[in-house]
């Protein structure tokens, strides 16, 4: 098939289209007509501009929602819409900016101190280098939501100095009156190796002579077949031997009165119910702690006297015989000072002597003709001599009784305050008296930190363990960490019976798994979980929810 072309021999040049005709095929004005794409693009730009301006206008009306990085904490909610209440215009509120200076820090802090002057006035430590302390907002960051706790500061705010505390505290030349703490161990977190062992558990400062091991044994007695050299079996206690008034506290319901006494932790270590301030006043530390955070201090009358009455008559060691039958007037009161003890013994023995020999009261007192050296009349002297011998024995007995549990401090008492008459040549002081040394058992063993027994008592325990045993294993006779035979020792009060850091980090650590694949850790372990700042005591800066949150 042949396609007709110009090349077929015909003279076609005269009939070809002209160049004008060719040019007319081209639309020369197309670019003057905006295409659809161009028109849409132009309108889209206008729409974008309008949308941007509209958004800005909305932001001007609802400024906090648009410009605040987040809701302020509940305690600051009142100033949610008043940015100037906390912010100084065009001044950084934190210390990590280029333009942060001491001046900007002071201006920013002044806004905080307008309400929090009391906290700001409390230094953290006398040796604190205040040049290194950031602004309030640097540690206490707000705008983290209503429920955020502003006291939950980042660990870095503490470890900034405590990671190398020696390099961050004032040199001795700047604070000569303050003795630097010898402890300079680095603190970089809460784990073995990054946190020093608890100093409060290094040793037991208590002076009370006591055996936890014996008190946790049935019958409160050592084994009947004690080996030679071991404490021998003492009185085996049954519930019948406990005075009626105290018996119900110790005897489980349904237990026979002849059964051996078996104490547990709660027999002595009681926790105050919520809302109670029972006995809290004995310790300012305890007074600041929430109810139930710590066990109440032990009281002799409540926790010891059921078994350990203090008989005035008898011999040392005989106090445990038939305590239920003892008359009240023959019992030494507990907690007397040396002077009070002498007064008690003198008055008791004088009364007893006068009851036995009422004729002594009939003898007239001799009256000297002139003021002279005091000279007792013969009847009084006879009475004093009669009582004096018994007083000496009672003094000796009391010493032995007190010394059984307490350290004693020797004290000479002035003769002038004695009830017994003096005589010529009697020394101005009576020797041989004593005060009982304070027991010094800490009400709170870790005074630098916050703790609360209440939530820790409800933790799951192994079936064969007591709820307290996880952290106080050393107080139990079956403690595997005890050296052989320590449960049988008479005294174990020198042993600290609170587990250390390792018992905390089993829960207060980053989440993970142990060798058996069980989940461990995961509980908060930041610095402020236990510690306070601004000179606050262990419970002074508790991270309890702020009032506004609690009310909600």
């Amino acid at each position: 098939m042949a396609q007709p072309t110009d090349a077929d021999g015909r003279d076609s040049s005269a009939r070809r289209p002209t160049s004008r005709g060719q040019v007319s095929r081209i639309d020369r004005d197309y670019y003057h007509r905006p295409s659809l794409l161009r028109r849409v693009r132009r309108w889209a730009v206008v729409a974008g501009l309008v949308a941007g301006v509209a958004w800005v206008a909305w932001g001007a009306i609802d400024s906090p929602r648009h410009h605040s990085p987040g809701p302020v904490a509940a305690v600051h909610a009142r100033w949610e819409r008043d940015c100037q209440a906390c912010h100084e215009p065009f001044q950084p509120i934190t210390d990590d900016t280029f333009l942060s200076t001491a001046a900007t820090r002071d201006r920013a802090d002044a806004k905080c101190e307008a309400c929090h002057a009391d906290v700001a006035a409390r230094p953290h430590h006398p040796l604190q280098n205040f040049h290194e302390v950031g602004s309030c907002g640097s540690c206490h960051q707000d705008h983290r939501g209503r429920d955020a706790d502003m006291l939950r500061v980042a660990d870095r705010t503490c470890t900034h100095c405590h990671a190398d505390i020696a390099a961050h505290r004032l040199p001795a030349t700047e604070a000569p009156a303050v003795a630097p703490s010898p402890v300079v161990e680095p603190v970089t977190g809460f784990a073995a190796g990054s946190h020093p062992p608890f100093r409060g558990l290094a040793s037991d400062p208590g002076t009370l002579k006591f055996s936890h091991g014996r008190h946790m044994l049935a019958g409160l007695s050592f084994a009947p077949d004690a080996a030679p050299g071991q404490p021998q079996r003492g009185t085996v206690w049954t519930y019948a031997m406990i005075p009626e008034a105290h018996r119900a506290r110790y005897k489980p319901a349904g237990e026979s009165a002849d059964a051996l006494v078996q104490l547990d932790c709660a027999s002595c270590h009681e926790f105050a119910p919520a809302g109670s301030d029972d006995l809290r006043s004995v310790s300012t530390l305890l007074a600041g702690a929430p109810p139930g955070a710590y066990p109440l201090p032990l009281e002799f009358e409540r926790h010891c006297a059921a078994c350990h009455q203090l008989p005035l008559a008898g011999t040392p060691g005989g106090d445990e015989a038939a305590p239920a039958a003892r008359a009240p007037e023959t019992v030494l009161p507990h907690g007397l000072s040396g002077a009070e003890l002498r007064r008690f013994l003198e008055s008791t023995l004088l009364g007893e002597a006068l009851r036995r020999n009422p004729a002594l009261l009939e003898q007239p007192a001799a009256t000297p003709p002139l003021p002279s050296i005091r000279e007792a009349d013969p009847a009084t002297v006879a009475l004093a001599e009669l009582v004096g011998e018994r007083l000496a024995r009672a003094q000796s007995f009391a010493r032995a009784t007190c010394e059984k549990c307490h350290d004693l401090v020797e004290r000479d008492l002035p003769t002038a305050t004695s009830l017994l008459p003096g005589r010529v040549g009697r020394p101005r002081t009576d020797a041989g008296w004593f005060d009982v040394a304070p027991t010094a058992v800490p009400a709170i063993w870790l005074p630098k930190s916050r703790f609360n027994h209440q939530p820790h008592r409800n933790l799951p325990h192994a079936l064969d363990r007591h709820e307290c045993q996880d952290c106080h294993a050393a107080a139990f006779p079956d403690d595997t960490t005890r050296p052989a035979g320590i449960a049988g020792k008479a005294l174990d009060n020198s042993k600290v019976m609170i587990a250390g850091l390792e018992s905390c980090t089993s829960c207060h650590a980053p989440p993970g798994r142990d060798g058996a694949g069980r989940t461990v850790g995961g509980v908060r372990h930041d610095c402020v979980e236990c510690h306070g700042y601004h000179g606050l005591g262990p419970h002074g800066g508790a991270s309890a929810p702020p009032p506004a949150v609690a009310e909600r």
Binding site: D8, R16, Y30, A47, W55, S68, P89, P92, A154
Partner: protein
């Protein structure tokens, strides 16, 4: 191709530079993060530096638009501007992320700013990818490419040219005068027809305009004329919008096979011309579709860039007021 090919040495320098800057910023951020114990915010030393750098980049990116308005100012070549626009825009992503505390940002303004920023970035990357590959596809698959805005005009012209060939060569069916091309009445009525086709030769292909001599009527071609008027001409004028079977290559192949069977052998060259015109029209359709893909992203990228600029202009003073 925007990236790669002959421009690769320049692109490589840009890639190395923005990678180094991004890594340096990230390293600084990590150091300050460890020092502070928490993620540095926008007002921290590293956060503010990244914010200022990111803001400056965004401002520069916005300048591309006015720069196109003042081409006569000779502010660097368009290629250099585009390359800087692309690579600096990508560098802005890590800088803005570090400034915005890795997206832990607060107020609605900041959130809107961040959302718009990322839509602009993603649309820009989409446009970059599209422009990287579609022009090559256009070159290979649309040898008859014309100016996009002229497609309808060229298609009408082509339809007119082919109609002149058909009208001059085919037997008149008698009732198709209703379908006569109006342009025919005003066109030059010489004995030549100018037709558009495309040729491929030694690796070069493109649209060609040929002038053909018009011969006498070919007997037995009334079917060609009828089907041209009924099916081909609407397709040539409307393209794929009309839903014609000629819009697909297989449909067109079937159509012209039928037409050849119903026509004398002498009309083969004419049918081939009509088939070429339909093929050309299909290329215009493809060109229009590729053109839309090439440019529709800008309808997102450009207006949101304007929004970004407005929000950024408000963000800066407010951030410095309450930092």
């Amino acid at each position: 191709m925007i990236i790669g090919g002959r421009t690769w040495p320049k692109d490589r320098r840009w890639i190395m530079a923005i990678t180094a800057i991004a890594l340096a910023a990230l390293g600084w951020y990590v150091v300050e993060w460890r020092q502070l114990g928490h993620l540095p915010g926008g007002s921290s030393r590293v956060g503010l530096t990244c914010g200022i750098a990111g803001g400056a980049i965004i401002l520069f990116e916005l300048l591309l638009w006015p720069r196109k308005r003042v081409r006569s100012w000779r502010l660097g070549s368009a290629q250099s501007w585009l390359r800087a626009h692309v690579w600096l825009g990508l560098l802005a992503v890590p800088l803005v992320l570090l400034h915005a505390r890795l997206l832990f940002i607060g107020g609605l303004l900041n959130q809107a700013l961040m959302v718009v920023f990322f839509i602009v970035i993603v649309s820009g990357i989409w446009g970059l990818v599209i422009q990287q590959y579609l022009p090559k596809a256009l070159l290979e698959q649309v040898p008859a490419e014309t100016i996009y805005d002229q497609i309808d005009h060229v298609a009408r012209q082509q339809c007119h040219d082919v109609w002149r060939l058909v009208a001059a060569s085919c037997v008149t069916a008698g009732d198709d005068h209703h379908h006569a091309d109006p342009a025919e009445e005003t066109a030059d009525e010489g004995d030549h027809a100018v037709v558009t086709g495309f040729r491929a030769m030694t690796g070069i292909q493109g649209r060609v305009v040929e002038t053909l001599a018009i011969h006498a009527v070919i007997p037995g071609t009334d079917e060609v004329r009828r089907r041209f008027v009924a099916e081909v001409r609407p397709y040539l004028l409307a393209g794929a919008r009309g839903g014609s079977t000629l819009a697909s290559a297989p449909g067109a192949a079937r159509f012209f096979a039928d037409l050849r069977g119903a026509s004398p052998a002498e009309a083969g060259w004419l049918i081939e011309r009509i088939e070429q015109a339909c093929d050309c029209r299909r290329q215009f359709d493809l060109q229009a579709r590729l053109h839309r893909w090439l440019h529709v992203w800008i309808l997102v990228h450009l207006p949101l860039s304007v929004v970004l600029g407005v929000l950024l202009a408000v963000h800066v003073p407010i951030a410095f007021n309450y930092w």
